[in-house]
Point group: C3
Chain length 446, copies 3
């Protein structure tokens, strides 16, 4: 439907809440809805979450059967859970899945048993250095069970017998992921990927899910040179499965972003793709540099999120990662403290702007040819230049982008090349190019 609507808006109209001031609060509302759901690599929690996203954007939901091969991997069994607890001798729940799904090790096999604290102890996982939080724990690829618990609560458990229950199933089923495709003027694609497998953790990564949703909604209404493909997938196995099913078409992916941890109050950051200086890298670095955030750019390393798979040597896709505070470097990471208070509407709105700023560059980064390359053209007679030699006066600022565009539009330089060399904002360079094109001084080339 989006493509058919002949959208009127240019992508830069989406910036700074000009068209929609509610992006941040709406993203936070979606996080709030998704927060209580128990998600994992597979299972009903993922399906339920994707259906909430589907209310906002057109989303194809795919199911891939357990046991399906994907390169070196196999789609695991589907895991579902209804309840889990540890009861003390008086029958009181001292650890309760209903309070937080973080209490159960992800992919725990079903268990029903009575045991002493001594027997139970090796199954209880806590963080002595962060005694108040419940840590995330998973065991996807080895059948196991366990509970996470705040260390302070663990220390309070008296000796005695406990009743342990994990009412889960681990059975043949399927892995579920969502895909939203927005066709553009060309079949060249921008890939946006975000993981949807974590349970009640907000920054990692309901923030990514909510931001991707808002970006897809907004881009649906815009003119698009590129097609955009949004993936809502379980981490690692999801990108591996998606790549194995779409191997023939990955050549269409010209640029990509993995979105993770985009809702905290830290400054925006960017991790380069394996290529290091791909156009997506240069666009993201330009956007951050223009705001003084050059120090927030990190080199690629083969750890982290799904960029590990997109950037594996057999694919080497130009996929970077946009974050605010990088995963693993904020103390709330993978604990119950990564909650609804930790992510903020203003941060989500800013992340939206950063991504739109990057997409704007990708959409408009073309090469132009100066049609009057010998000496400067007379801008004044075309109304593009102050007419008096009054350098103490105003109006000069916008001349510089025009002079740069004219000087470097020799066929070798794209607008991003020009923005980089001149250290001017891409938007100013783009506006200059459009003004010069309109008066016939510049022509777009292949």
């Amino acid at each position: 439907m989006h493509a058919a609507a002949r959208p009127e808006f240019a992508i830069r109209d989406l910036l700074h809440g000009r068209r929609d001031a509610a992006v941040g609060t709406r993203a936070h509302d979606l996080i709030r809805e998704l927060y209580p759901i128990c998600r994992s690599l597979t299972g009903e929690g993922v399906r339920e979450s994707l259906k909430l996203v589907q209310k906002v954007i057109p989303l194809d939901i795919h199911e891939v059967a357990s046991g399906t091969r994907a390169f070196d991997w196999v789609v695991p069994k589907e895991w579902n859970i209804r309840d889990a607890y540890i009861k003390n001798a008086r029958g009181e729940r001292v650890v309760d899945f209903r309070h937080s799904n973080l209490h159960v090790t992800g992919y725990s096999v079903p268990v029903r048993a009575r045991m002493s604290l001594g027997e139970l102890r090796p199954r209880l996982y806590s963080l002595p250095a962060k005694p108040d939080v419940v840590p995330l724990r998973t065991s996807y690829f080895r059948e196991d069970w366990g509970f996470s618990i705040a260390h302070r609560d663990l220390e309070k458990l008296p000796e005695g017998e406990y009743e342990v229950c994990i009412d889960s199933t681990l059975t043949e089923g399927s892995l579920t992921y969502g895909e939203c495709f927005l066709p553009g003027e060309t079949t060249d694609e921008v890939l946006v990927s975000t993981h949807i497998c974590h349970p009640s953790l907000c920054n990692d990564n309901l923030s990514g899910v909510a931001l991707a949703t808002e970006l897809a909604r907004a881009l649906g209404d815009c003119r698009r040179r590129y097609s955009y493909r949004f993936l809502f997938i379980p981490a690692q196995i999801g990108s591996i499965v998606w790549l194995s099913r779409n191997e023939r078409n990955v050549g269409r992916i010209k640029h990509g972003l993995v979105l993770v941890a985009v809702g905290d109050s830290g400054d925006p950051s960017y991790k380069r793709s394996r290529r290091g200086n791909a156009e997506i890298d240069r666009a993201a670095v330009h956007v951050l540099r223009q705001q003084g955030f050059e120090g927030r750019v990190r080199e690629f390393f083969p750890h982290g999120n799904d960029e590990r798979q997109f950037c594996s040597p057999g694919f080497n896709l130009p996929v970077g990662s946009f974050m605010r505070t990088p995963c693993g470097t904020f103390p709330e990471y993978h604990t119950s403290a990564d909650n609804l208070d930790f992510v903020r509407p203003a941060a989500l709105a800013d992340s939206f702007d950063q991504c739109i700023g990057i997409f704007e560059i990708l959409e408009h980064n073309r090469r132009y040819l100066n049609l009057n390359p010998k000496c400067e053209p007379q801008l004044g007679k075309r109304g593009l230049y102050r007419l008096t030699g009054d350098v103490h006066g105003g109006g000069k600022v916008k001349e510089m982008p025009m002079l740069w565009v004219l000087n470097l539009s020799d066929g070798d330089h794209s607008l991003l090349d020009i923005a980089e060399r001149s250290e001017l904002a891409f938007g100013d360079v783009l506006a200059a190019a459009h003004a010069l094109e309109q008066c016939g001084l510049l022509k777009e080339i292949e």
Copy 2:
């Protein structure tokens, strides 16, 4: 005449006042002579100025008729002015062209009128932030008239009627520029360009005119590998006109320098050509770096002086710009404070040395081949090396340039390459090359 004289001097003999200690004072004297003349893009003031230069160096003076096309531009009408003033009700001149030609907006159309201060006010141009100076103002490409005035004087003007007179003409005529060509051993050229269109402003750019004159005088007496072409032109339109008339021969220009603001007391500085690392750029950077002025090197930007035209993409000539304090960054810029006191003989003499230092590199930057490339040659038996292993003694300094020249003269490295890698002064590297060539260890190659 200069070429025929079989000059005896090498270019480096011109350094440090060795042949002529009076360069700085003579340049300042020429500035003093030129200072009162009212110059503009065109007109008698330019002709009169060029004739003063012609007394010192061989100068061809060219006239290009108004209306002549030059790329996207047209040669403007010729402007001349005899007198201009604003008289108060008592008939006293409160603004007087005879005191300073800066008082009249350049290219003002003739006017004779009586008007109230209220009507006159929009025609009076001052700088409230610099209340004591008269600012430069021009209106070359839109017919207009006006006066510049010190803000403090403007504020003192009482209400009442004023008599306004600009006794100017703006008619078909011509644009005038001067050209001094010094043929060398080859037809490859070094271009030196300086603008001559500013009225009573000393650093911008009578300093450039005087320095170019002294350089041309001195080079006329030297052996020259390159031919040197000095242009004395009105800014921008002058270089545009010159390029349009000499388009076929610009391929001869191997290196170029625009000279502006070369007489103030600031440290020397250099703005790179559009190419960024052309030989002229490397030569100038080497000269500045050897004096610790590496921080005074600026990247190219497509604004400034005539390098804008020489470095337009259709020409992309290797033309940089030598200055002391860059235009626009000293408070006196384009005001009456850029006067005879603001430029100093010592600064002009130092600018002369900087340029000669650059030219020396261009003249002598050749490639040599080490004829004994396997192990070091025995310098001692040729009298080029200390004979005792006495490292605590003297004489060692000059061995290093020889060892560097021998080590890098493999056909891939020019003397400037060697000076850059070794961080030695080009002059020392050159002296080493000459010593080694004389004893048959080195041979110049193409």
Copy 3:
């Protein structure tokens, strides 16, 4: 013998005294033995020294006759000395060769004379700024004689007549050097060169001689991909002579190190080869950088030790120089203060480790191909990865080298490339590659 023994040890087993804790003390013992011998460019002292080395490692001792041409040079006469002194009027030795061979200018012609202090004075060489030490002085290429003396002693000499004796011979003979060749799996060679011509000076360069001896001893017991060639030569003329006699085979030299001043207590340092970024340079820089000694890396310059000849443009061999405190920058340099106390067993042992660390990289720096390049392989099922998603736990460190090796083993990157980009230690990268190779995920390629 070494090659036939089918050695069992890998080169890295030599690190950190694992196989042999006595390297440093043994090297210091050898220095102590060599210290009293009077060495020079040629003569019995060199032969005697080489025979001591020959007790430890297999060493071919070569003699090259005086007068033999070597490129631009000629092998000098052989110099030998039995005794030398200056006696005062009472027949007491006030300068005595038997106390220190530094007292005699190297290559002094024989002399027997009586002369006044005034006549003798120009032949007495001292360092007023370092009044307590006897400076080294040589006159290899001009026939001369003289004495070195502590400045404090020089000032004490009373007027009067002195008896001067230098009981030396300077005759047709030969230049002597030693060569130890350890064949490896390939004929590609690593060259290690050290100069043996200095008399009683410990850091420059008995330390180099002792370290080269210990390296050759240890490498003799190791598996070796490369052949290793150790040269014990007189400085400059020795490398010139060796190169002239081995010109046809220098193509086998893939990497090389000159060892000088490797026994003082300063931090290790490295001077790059002329090539600047040869594999030997990258290996040495990696080893130093991993220890925080990146600031101890120096660019090539064509002065110093035998790297001057190996890196002359006609050879341009990839030969760098390993030192601790560079020659010429420690106050003891070329004086009697460079004695047995100035070099330390611990420093010699550390220099041994630095060199072995460099050789380890050269031996193992190969390219591998990731056989599962599309997405990551499932390391967990191969026992190479933690199985629970427990990032707060341990064991993570060693995963990073595996992920890096997998990510960059695309055929374009060697293990050193990977170590450089990841900033991981080469040893960790190598261990990861071996682990991955063993489980069939990686294959070595050409």
